[in-house]
Symmetry: C2
Subunit: 319 residues, 2 copies
């Protein structure tokens, strides 16, 4: 049989392929996966991390703003958890330094899971199979919030999405993307998009002004990075979102101001670069962006250990 053709990886590109995750501690990941899917970490017993970062739908909820405890409307669009381990910091304004620090937030946020860390830990501690699993993973008899967030973060580190068609092209498979997608990528580079959307994640590695060239109009009150740095120069800077799997993470921008990718590309061209794309150019860039959809997390639906007779009851209604 003829030898398999040797692929010539592209060199000098501003984008690099996603590597499959290396899992250091599979038992820890399995525990974190259960916790990610467990609505008992919320006051109502109804909302889990997966409610707003649905791993059947690209790791987000595809809503303009999330639905939290008691149907409270969230303040900002829910970003994907896919490839979020690559971010320089977590949240649109980067206020959490890493996934572990982030994971404590939503449990105790009144508008998200509406619970407290103490109560969440009390619930877990009342579930014999969780106690056993934490013991196996952490060699410790008691559960605490630090262990909970460590396990969730370990699971999230596995949520990377290799093998996008664009990555196959980067690795030298010229047939992996179409002519239109390639034209879109060339335009993406030549227009200057890669100034901000670069690296493995095509984003996630800097905070940038939303409206670098022309102001962005929104009714959303989020002030961006300045909320963290208290530096007025950082007003309206947001973490540049990854463009990996962006086909799946509509609607777009922190305020969900763009319902479609086409609209997001149009707005980016205008307000970040002062460029107006033709219909064909816009379509090519959109086509390129859709070639960035990678393998989605692939695992069996987790089975959660049942509560015990002493597990505090969920409180979905009333105060």
């Amino acid at each position: 049989p003829p030898a398999a053709p040797v692929l010539q990886p592209k060199t000098g590109e501003p984008v690099a392929p996603v590597e499959a995750p290396k899992v250091a501690d599979q038992a820890m990941v399995e525990l974190g996966k259960k916790l990610f899917f467990d609505p008992r970490l919320s006051k109502s017993g109804f909302i889990s991390c997966n409610s707003c970062h649905n791993l059947s739908m690209g790791g987000s909820d595809n809503l303009k703003s999330s639905i939290g405890h008691k149907w409270k409307q969230g303040p900002i669009n829910s970003p994907t958890v896919l490839n979020s381990s690559m971010n320089l910091a977590q949240f649109w304004d980067g206020r959490a330094k890493d996934l572990k620090e982030q994971a404590g937030g939503p449990i105790a946020n009144p508008g998200e899971m509406g619970f407290t860390h103490d109560l969440a830990v009390t619930v877990l501690q009342s579930i014999p199979a969780y106690v056993d699993e934490f013991k196996k993973v952490f060699q410790a008899d008691t559960i605490d919030i630090d262990k909970v967030t460590t396990a969730i973060a370990a699971f999230e580190e596995t949520l990377v999405t290799p093998n996008a068609r664009f990555d196959k092209w980067l690795r030298g498979d010229d047939a992996a993307i179409t002519k239109e997608e390639l034209a879109g990528y060339e335009l993406f580079k030549s227009s200057g998009c890669t100034a901000c959307h670069n690296g493995v994640a095509l984003g996630g590695n800097s905070f940038q002004k939303m409206g670098a060239v022309e102001p962005y109009k929104t009714k959303n009150p989020a002030s961006g990075r300045s909320a963290v740095t208290k530096d007025d120069a950082d007003r309206f800077k947001f973490k540049v979102p990854t463009l990996r799997n962006v086909e799946l993470t509509y609607p777009y921008f922190h305020d969900a101001g763009a319902a479609t990718l086409s609209k997001a590309v149009e707005v980016m061209g205008q307000i970040q670069l002062g460029k107006t794309f033709t219909v064909e150019e816009n379509a090519n860039i959109v086509a390129f962006l859709k070639s960035l959809t990678g393998d989605q997390p692939k695992f069996e639906l987790p089975q959660l250990p049942p509560s015990s007779d002493t597990t505090p009851l969920p409180q979905p209604f009333g105060k």
Copy 2:
């Protein structure tokens, strides 16, 4: 090597083992699975069948009453979808004759998914990968609610749970259950529980008075089977729930009046049979009931096809 011992199946028992499901049309099942997990069948884009029949938690939500559209409190405890194909009819009062008839209900129920059949179909019809998949499965170009409920029901037919330890015992593996569990089963039979909880599902095959011997006190206004038959003799008759996986489907009874299995067994003894069990007897029956937990549905988390630019937007807030 010694020949494997020949197992002697138990004969003459009022309970029979669960058979693994036979799948006639795998493509149909895969489509139904996606629909079961798809929150776009709800007005908010947030609530799917799996929200209230969580297959990570025994096919129910483990709440006293469900949380529906806009956090509306449901009227009755959510029964498990596991083994529900074995039921003589669906719902506590049996008002749907089968799974297909049932599946149309929640989508259009204002307190559940809050949508309409027409809008749900319009959403699906706007998603190219769904159109292709319905075409492949039904050899038809257009989606309608009949096809949607047919596919969901086909998926639900696969949600049976074989290989409970008790079933292994029924099949002749004497070591599969403990002495206490066996004692519990003997008492379950001799006390008369099997008058109502019998067959493969230990329930699901008749409507029976809640409070056969002594009245059941509840504030829940559900009138039971009489709501369907308009026959006063059927007042407060409910479909006998399956006891398969009952370890996972707390809280118990249509009004969730019993938080624990121990309490449910105590109440059943008293009001259905006029019996008061000792602490040990109660514990043995509970142990027996926990031996009825079978293999939970085992499949990869489904990946949902993305919406298109023409997909109507979810309406979680406002009117």
